[in-house]
């Protein structure tokens, strides 16, 4: 499979100037494959967000190397090529828009890249349609819900035509509805061919991932499919994460002697299975 991002044994230290010397990443290696939906899960402070910021050269590793489409992120001359290939959305929905109006905000990326004017207008429409916000071209994000604001932020990134979309804890400040909006948007974009890297501490969001990477103390401590990760409560707990309720129920039912076999990820499937047991 094609690797879009290659992370080779990177470490990241900060605070050396203040004499505190924190090692946020310790020898992390990870490849992101073209077209996959990758979730990086970890508790707050596990290093997951620091890792994300290495994926488009916002941070440079203290040692080791990160390559995007084969270009090392240390290559200053091509950094904008990297950043337009790996779009990134952040945590706080209020801190990512530069303009008062949606269309101006979405235009920011392509304007910076010198995309021709008519092309920008087309991209604004496409990006808004892709996140299900057509018709909000002239609105102001100020008055929108958190989920809508984050979708606008995603549109702003899509307008640069990236290959990878990194959501750096973009759901953590949202209510369940907003979280669902963002995750569903990401899934839809993934089906349309964009590689998605979702950073989160809400393990529910990893149900439909192709791969889950778990981080703790600056290390990758587990990698697996949802079926593998969500049948291993011990590993999750060791990494200060929890089984989502739907999986916790299945774990308890298995212990009680009901409900064997592979885990399921929707309530409907589980209830069907339970009905068959009665």
């Amino acid at each position: 499979m094609d690797k879009v991002i290659e992370i080779k044994n990177i470490s990241y230290k900060y605070g050396a100037a203040e004499g505190v010397d924190v090692e946020a990443l310790r020898g992390v290696s990870l490849d992101v494959f073209k077209g996959e939906f990758l979730v990086i899960a970890g508790h707050n402070g596990s290093g997951k967000s620091t890792l994300a910021k290495h994926m488009n050269g916002l941070l440079l590793p203290t040692s080791g190397e990160v390559r995007v489409n084969g270009i090392p992120t240390t290559n200053d001359a091509r950094i904008f090529e990297i950043r337009s290939a790996v779009g990134m959305v952040f945590q706080n929905p209020d801190n990512q828009t530069v303009a008062t109006f949606v269309e101006d905000d979405i235009a920011f990326g392509p304007e910076n890249l010198g995309v021709p004017r008519e092309e920008i207008e087309r991209r604004i429409d496409e990006a808004l349609a892709a996140v299900g916000m057509s018709g909000h071209r002239k609105s102001t994000p100020q008055k929108m819900s958190g989920g809508q604001k984050q979708r606008i932020a995603i549109a702003g990134v899509l307008a640069m035509k990236p290959r990878v979309l990194v959501l750096d804890e973009s759901t953590s400040m949202l209510d369940p509805r907003g979280r669902k909006e963002v995750v569903e948007t990401a899934r839809k974009l993934n089906k349309e061919g964009i590689t998605v890297v979702l950073i989160t501490h809400n393990t529910e969001e990893a149900f439909f991932a192709d791969r889950i990477v778990i981080m703790n103390e600056g290390h990758i401590t587990a990698v697996g499919t949802p079926k593998e990760i969500f049948t291993d409560a011990e590993t999750l707990n060791k990494n200060r994460l929890v089984l989502p309720p739907l999986l916790e129920i299945q774990r308890l039912l298995v212990i009680a002697g009901y409900c064997t076999g592979e885990p399921v990820f929707t309530e409907a499937e589980l209830s069907e299975r339970l009905i068959n047991l009665l």
Binding site: G87, T100, N112
Partner: protein
């Protein structure tokens, strides 16, 4: 929440809204300059009438315009009071111990206060009818010649647009923090000035901390979206001056010319003419 309306865009599709922002900016400058040339009450009345006409054409409710004055009412009153008590003159209207109000003082006070009032309403009409983005684009365009002397026109324009964009966010945040501290028993409207300023620290410190945190994340978001990637940044908005724009510019030019002419050449002849028109009959 009340003064949040200051400088906020009021959506409408009037022809004032649709004017080229550069034209509006120039007109605003002309208007402000003109006000400083005005001395006579009749010309003030004329300026007021002119202003009211523009407001009416913009279809922004007069109440919305007046609300912008509310947030600076203190400044206007202070100006009034300072002039009233500190400007000396011959004709004393009223006195008590060492306080004296003179006719000259009153005259100055009224005029200065009125001047400020016209200034605020006029300039707020600019921001009420022009989106912050148009405004910064307009400014950027007007300042383009400065690029020749390496003046960072584009950065300045972006800084302004971001500042405008974050005003409501920070206002909201201020209210939130104030409420949180009030819930802990803080009070912001009692005691003398020093006490009140001190009482604001529990609001200002968290506000600064938060502003820095926001700035940090915004910077990351801007870097991720390739800010400063190329010197040939696309300018999405292209301005086209049309006949209406030219007409408006000419009207404003005529307006200031008349005021200046009145003051220096005709020695206040307008006063005389208007006075004549009103009182001769």
């Amino acid at each position: 929440m009340n003064n949040i309306s200051f400088g906020q865009y009021y959506p409408s599709n009037s022809f004032i809204h649709r004017l080229d922002p550069r034209v509006k900016l120039i007109c605003a400058v002309i208007y402000v300059a003109a006000i400083f040339f005005v001395d006579s009450y009749f010309v003030y009345a004329a300026v007021l009438l002119f202003g009211i006409t523009v407001i009416a054409l913009s279809r922004v409710p007069i109440g919305t315009v007046l609300k912008t004055v509310k947030s600076v009412l203190f400044l206007i009153l202070l100006t009034f009071a300072l002039n009233l008590f500190l400007v000396s003159g011959d004709k004393v209207l009223w006195s008590w111990k060492f306080i004296k109000i003179t006719a000259t003082g009153l005259d100055y006070a009224v005029r200065m206060a009125f001047r400020l009032f016209l200034l605020i309403t006029g300039t707020s009409l600019l921001t009420l009818t022009t989106t912050p983005m148009e405004l910064t684009d307009g400014l950027e365009s007007l300042m383009t010649p400065l690029k020749a002397v390496r003046f960072p026109v584009r950065d300045i324009a972006l800084i302004m647009s971001i500042a405008l964009r974050f005003i409501p966010t920070l206002m909201e945040e201020t209210t939130k923090i104030m409420n949180a501290q009030k819930a802990r028993g803080a009070s912001f409207d009692t005691g003398n000035l020093l006490k009140r300023v001190k009482a604001l620290l529990p609001v200002l410190i968290p506000l600064f901390v938060s502003a820095f945190r926001r700035a940090e994340e915004l910077a990351l978001a801007m870097d991720s979206r390739c800010y400063d990637a190329t010197p040939n940044r696309t300018r999405r908005r292209q301005f086209k001056i049309n006949m209406v724009d030219i007409a408006v510019l000419l009207i404003f030019a005529a307006f200031i010319t008349l005021i200046i002419l009145d003051k220096y050449l005709w020695g206040g002849a307008m006063d005389g003419i208007i006075y004549g028109l009103i009182f001769k009959k």
